[in-house]
Symmetry: C2
Subunit: 468 residues, 2 copies
Amino acid sequence: MNKPFPEALAERLIQHFGQRFSRGESTRLQHGRDESVHAPQLPDAVIHAESTDEVALIVRLCAEHGVPVIPFGVGSSVEGHVLAPQGGISLDLSGMNQVVAIHADDGDATVQAGVTRKQLNDELKGTGLFFPIDPGADATLGGMAATRASGTNAVRYGTMRENVLASTVVLADGRIMKTGGRARKSSAGYDLTRLLVGSEGTLGIMTELTVKLYPIPEAISAAVCTFPDIDSAVQTVIQTIQLGVPIARIELLDTLSLKAINQFSKTTLAEAPTLFFEFHGSPAGVAEQAQTVQAIADELGGANFAWATRPEDRSRLWQARHDAYFACLQLKPGCRCFPTDVCVPISRLAECIAATSEDIAQVGIPIALFGHVGDGNFHLVVLVDTANEQEMAEAAWISQRVVERAIAMEGTCTGEHGIGLGKRKYLPLEHGEVAVDVMRAIKSALDPHNLLNPGKILLPAPGTRDDA
Amino acid sequence: MNKPFPEALAERLIQHFGQRFSRGESTRLQHGRDESVHAPQLPDAVIHAESTDEVALIVRLCAEHGVPVIPFGVGSSVEGHVLAPQGGISLDLSGMNQVVAIHADDGDATVQAGVTRKQLNDELKGTGLFFPIDPGADATLGGMAATRASGTNAVRYGTMRENVLASTVVLADGRIMKTGGRARKSSAGYDLTRLLVGSEGTLGIMTELTVKLYPIPEAISAAVCTFPDIDSAVQTVIQTIQLGVPIARIELLDTLSLKAINQFSKTTLAEAPTLFFEFHGSPAGVAEQAQTVQAIADELGGANFAWATRPEDRSRLWQARHDAYFACLQLKPGCRCFPTDVCVPISRLAECIAATSEDIAQVGIPIALFGHVGDGNFHLVVLVDTANEQEMAEAAWISQRVVERAIAMEGTCTGEHGIGLGKRKYLPLEHGEVAVDVMRAIKSALDPHNLLNPGKILLPAPGTRDDA
């Protein structure tokens, strides 16, 4: 049982925020669940903040009353990040959706945390620049920074780790901190920006970000190619990466994913193991890259190379790819996804996927496999009826198998989703107890009363309660 | 006065390390000074460690006796990082010089902290891969990680921030921590690797690193081009970066730097504002980039484009560039360098350099200007007789002017050298008091007794002593 929400705090917040403060059941439910199998855990209240100062006020008041604060963007987490296992306030930042500044000459933009990736790219129209990081959902940049998100372009442009230059952060006591700067590099002190990126709202609440932008390539070309089996597709990826082809996107989808996409997106793609490619560069450079990759694919049995060079064709293709997760969910009406998100060194990718395919063959539930294989990252979309114990047990079994395998291969339990609630138990296995102790020491130093998104990333220290 | 070195500790260390433990004056002096104007501050003793376990033992024993530990690589710091303001042990890691593993298929290598950048590249011969980060000195990778170093290739390949995947770290209490992993990306918990990178030995001692490697480009071409004035050269840089040309190196040197290089390296380069370029890619890609940049330079009055395509010519050119710092020191026998290392957003670079040139004209001491301008980073090599108060005052004046200007332009006081002792006072100006407080909280959490490289990065909290 969480302790009751302090009425004095509620009154103070209503006084300031009026209808932007809500304790209604439906709003709380909307903010206390995510896209995955985690059962909803509702906050006591929801506040829509509109400025860094408001966030600071809320955090300061909550600190005075010992009330947890959980930042919320669009709720597209799949690891329970937005759930409220200890109650408290869900701090909705989606109203902080201003692009503060576009520095086209420097290739960066400063945005409020609630700006979504698509919104930013819309606002960049006419500048010749774009922001490449693209998780499946149209997530907020704050949420993406908090989970160290990536997506299909990371193989070339990096993840949020490489693309956040600076941030404005509200600390656990309500103080406002600036990290980083707009210089492209700096050796000035501890890298607080990168400490905050990936900290999932547990060390501070990022309210503004300065992110890198990139020139829209002079030429872009996308292609789809099918393979006789997954292994041939994966070998094509490995050789492409090892040759150092500066490919912008290289995505693998298995037969079941293609089937789901065709049904959901009304496409007519071949239902076979498939790679989606995209090449960025000068016209000559793109032609050169495409030729190299096509030669590799040909040798490995790749067939039906279909090119999309017109922007609308490319958009359709990548929208279909981005919809893969939701498309898969439609394969089994009423189901939820038990997500996996491992990432391994590229040399181990074929072995990791082959062993995972054997696991898939052993369970009865439908499982689609796709991912950002240029980074060594792939997902299983394990479709479960959360009320069915047998299915949930099978899903947990395969998830654990895949994670343990990836870590044994010097990889990670999560390439881009984050730890949240769902992957906490794997953190010591991946990083060792000493590193987890150090993470805990940093958490205690920055949030001594454990009020910022409590229960996420770190399991409670032995002897303390776990409400998650 | 530092407290006397505990004899019980000395005995214990001699027992284990024999002649690798030294209290000799010359060894202590060699380890208690650096390449810049900082007056030597000697450690009480020097130990040459040969393994992570030995480092852990030393740190644990020193912790028991409250004795500071200062990691030492080759001593090429220019910000006093290796000085011992509170005495203690200088922990020389140069004997930890094994390349532990080269994973050519994954494009990474694991090395001990004492491996130097040139040694790593020598050991990579035959793999088709190289390690790009190249500060002026042949520094150790441990030192480079500790200062978040970069160099001439950072504009394309990033700095140590982007290129360290994993590390082994000895903590203040002697525990051994692993951070990161070999996956290209991960969202698993706090980014301890990037917290350690740039922490200058104050949070832990990095004993092993896994770094990214890159395929040696199919084609490489280098060029030198002179300009009628610095501004035309800087405008060429800005336009090149803003166009998104994936240039590998673009370095500015002023007339005095060229004069110094010609004298030191016996070259016959034109003594005028000069850009050094290098292009990496496919043969067609390199030709395309070169053409673009040459067209920009032509429009801005660039002349005498001289190409170096043979490897030996390129090596000679870049060796001359790397020797620029030492070449400048020879301009004034017996002098030392008061270094500056600002980095600004590229759109402000011309303005920053122009204003800095006006400052240079106001002082009597010789000052060379060169730098990694593709990143917005440039150095002043301010040549001073450290015994001459007037010269030291002028040097301090111009250093402060340049730093405050860069920070006002949303830049940084140090692009690649680190804070050390010399730039501590600028940290609050650059990041604000709140961020510095958070750095201090992290330092206290990880090194509560302030024994790891004490006095570096952070000025003592108000009310405590500063021995530096």
